[in-house]
Symmetry: C2
Subunit: 128 residues, 2 copies
DNA sequence: TATATTAATGCGATTATATCGCATTAATCG
DNA sequence: CGATTAATGCGATATAATCGCATTAATATA
């Protein structure tokens, strides 16, 4: 937990985590909502996802379609930094996946990189 | 020109190009609009920018704020592919710049990368 | 130069994503 | 059980971007 606010365990949070942990892909709030049987308010979904990101449970990718996608963090527990990796958006099956491909860069002196948001766009191996 | 549709030369297009060619940064449609003296409709700005992207005159970056930014293409004339490079969004001065830093990746076999959208987020050298 | 063609524009409406305020509900703890 | 307050539902709101359509004007042609 990066945030010290007390969190409560709720069915909504459990359901969201359940959906994302059983997915190999990053998912949009709407796609997550659709995967949950019971009706959950849109605003609640967003708030749950944002809190999980704050807490380092999930990470967020903004794709080139301007939308947010969420996925489980792998190395986020432990005090390790979350692994910065590329994402892949397949224009055919319209999915976004976390690639096991770290983002490497050698940036000019003076810049301070705090975060990255990197998406490769094309056709995934399942659709090729 | 990647597109064979006949384009007409208009004051709006000239103004947009003038603004972007005198900027080292990628700019949002709204920022571009503000830099132009005469009033131009929002929809027109978007259409002009989209056409320029289609024609390979400009390229588009979607930042992690979900917004679109536009910048001149360097290697887009000629029949060369446009250079795929990282961008940098400074959270302090709120600008987005094209970095002279190519995006390199070795992706698993089967994937076909058609485009990239890569943004590094942090504090730029002018703000550090 | 005058006229025809149609790309480009202005304007309003529309779509879509995401957030916010506030009253209510319910998780947690003593 | 009762108190505290995090979490939720609902409606309103903010913002980005696009679309339909009538009008304007850039360009080509006579
Ligand atoms: Mn990821
Ligand atoms: Mn660029
Ligand atoms: Zn695919
Ligand atoms: Zn800066």
């Amino acid at each position: 937990m990066l945030n010290d606010m007390k969190r409560r365990n709720t069915p909504t949070k459990q359901a969201v985590l359940s959906v994302l942990s059983s997915s190999t892909k990053a998912m949009s709030p709407d796609a997550i909502k659709k995967k949950i049987d019971v009706s959950i308010d849109r605003a609640t979904i967003y708030r749950v996802l944002n809190r999980f990101c704050d807490d380092g449970v999930l990470h967020r990718v903004v794709a080139d379609d301007g939308k947010q996608y969420f996925a489980m963090c792998q190395k986020c527990d432990e005090n390790e930094k979350p692994l910065q990796h590329f994402h892949f958006r397949c224009t055919h099956c319209e999915t976004i996946e976390c690639l096991p491909l770290p983002v490497n860069y050698t940036i000019a002196k003076g810049y301070e990189v705090k975060n990255v948001n990197c998406v490769l766009i094309g056709v995934c191996k399942d659709c090729a």
